[in-house]
Symmetry: C2
């Protein structure tokens, strides 16, 4: 009962984030009115001390050449659940430390690669890709309807999933 309650809750979350994203009015307004909050950073608040890649192409290249797994965070500035997860992610010292072992990319716009949306284009959504450039679709969160979604309360699960992404990589080498 509690689980299905959670699913409904998460569905609402995702819907609200999706709605915010699709509204072109919002976008135009932002483009016109927002002065750049200088400097615009690649971290976007997910860990200002970490090295972030700018694009998916760059991230794939760096993962392959450095043999580090790639962690891709899809999020939206105007999605409160993305913001809440970001806060938890940025403030969690162990997560930040472990993140150094990854090639990191956070995106507010979807790529054209369908492999990055195995079960849809919701946010927040975190995917791992190994250096052979295979999406690790087996590393999932706790929501069966949105396998790659995490709530702030799931930060420990995210941490262990990050360990998993690093561990299996080593086993395979």
């Amino acid at each position: 009962m509690e689980k299905s309650y959670m699913s409904v809750f998460l569905l609402l979350v995702v819907l609200s984030c999706a709605l915010a994203k699709d509204a072109p009015k919002k976008e135009t307004k932002e483009t016109k009115e927002t002065k750049p909050k200088l400097p615009q950073t690649l971290s976007r608040g997910w860990g200002d001390q970490l090295i972030w890649t700018q694009t998916y192409e760059e991230a794939l290249f760096r993962s392959k050449t450095s043999n580090k797994p790639l962690m891709i965070i899809h999020h939206l500035d105007d999605c409160p659940h993305s913001q809440a997860l970001k806060k938890a992610f940025a403030e969690h010292k162990e997560v930040q430390k472990l993140a150094e072992k990854f090639i990191l990319l956070n995106l507010v716009y979807e790529t054209t690669d369908k492999n990055l949306s195995p079960d849809g284009q919701y946010v927040p959504r975190i995917l791992f890709i190994d250096p052979t450039l295979t999406v690790r679709a087996d590393i999932t969160g706790r929501y069966s309807n949105r396998l790659y979604a995490y709530e702030p309360s799931d930060i420990s699960l995210l941490y262990s999933n990050m360990q998993k992404a690093l561990k299996i990589l080593k086993t395979e080498l």
Copy 2:
């Protein structure tokens, strides 16, 4: 005679940049040794006061919804000719002012869209795309072998090409 001299010169330039880009050793070194020069910005020095998009997908979306033309600058951090053009671009007040009328993207990694390399993937290379998402292949620099390349001394031509990208857009609407 002077023209062919220039072509040879530019070819050498492009070759040296291409070589720098292809060297995986260089890349690995950078990934391992470079501490983030905080903060990593989206401008990458091409105009810190301007609003820059992060990815090609974002840039296309913003161009379409804001009805502004898109200007894409391909460059490399370890290409001296990219650096020289960047300096000229960032220091040219009129260019910086006019750039505000564009959706802006600077990329150090190529996208998978072949439309962005009509005559090859050299750097530096500047392309304009109109809000209907058509590459303005007609807006070129002065080098017949690398149509979208600019040297620092071509900054005035670049300025007038930016005006062209804005003017034709208005005529078409």
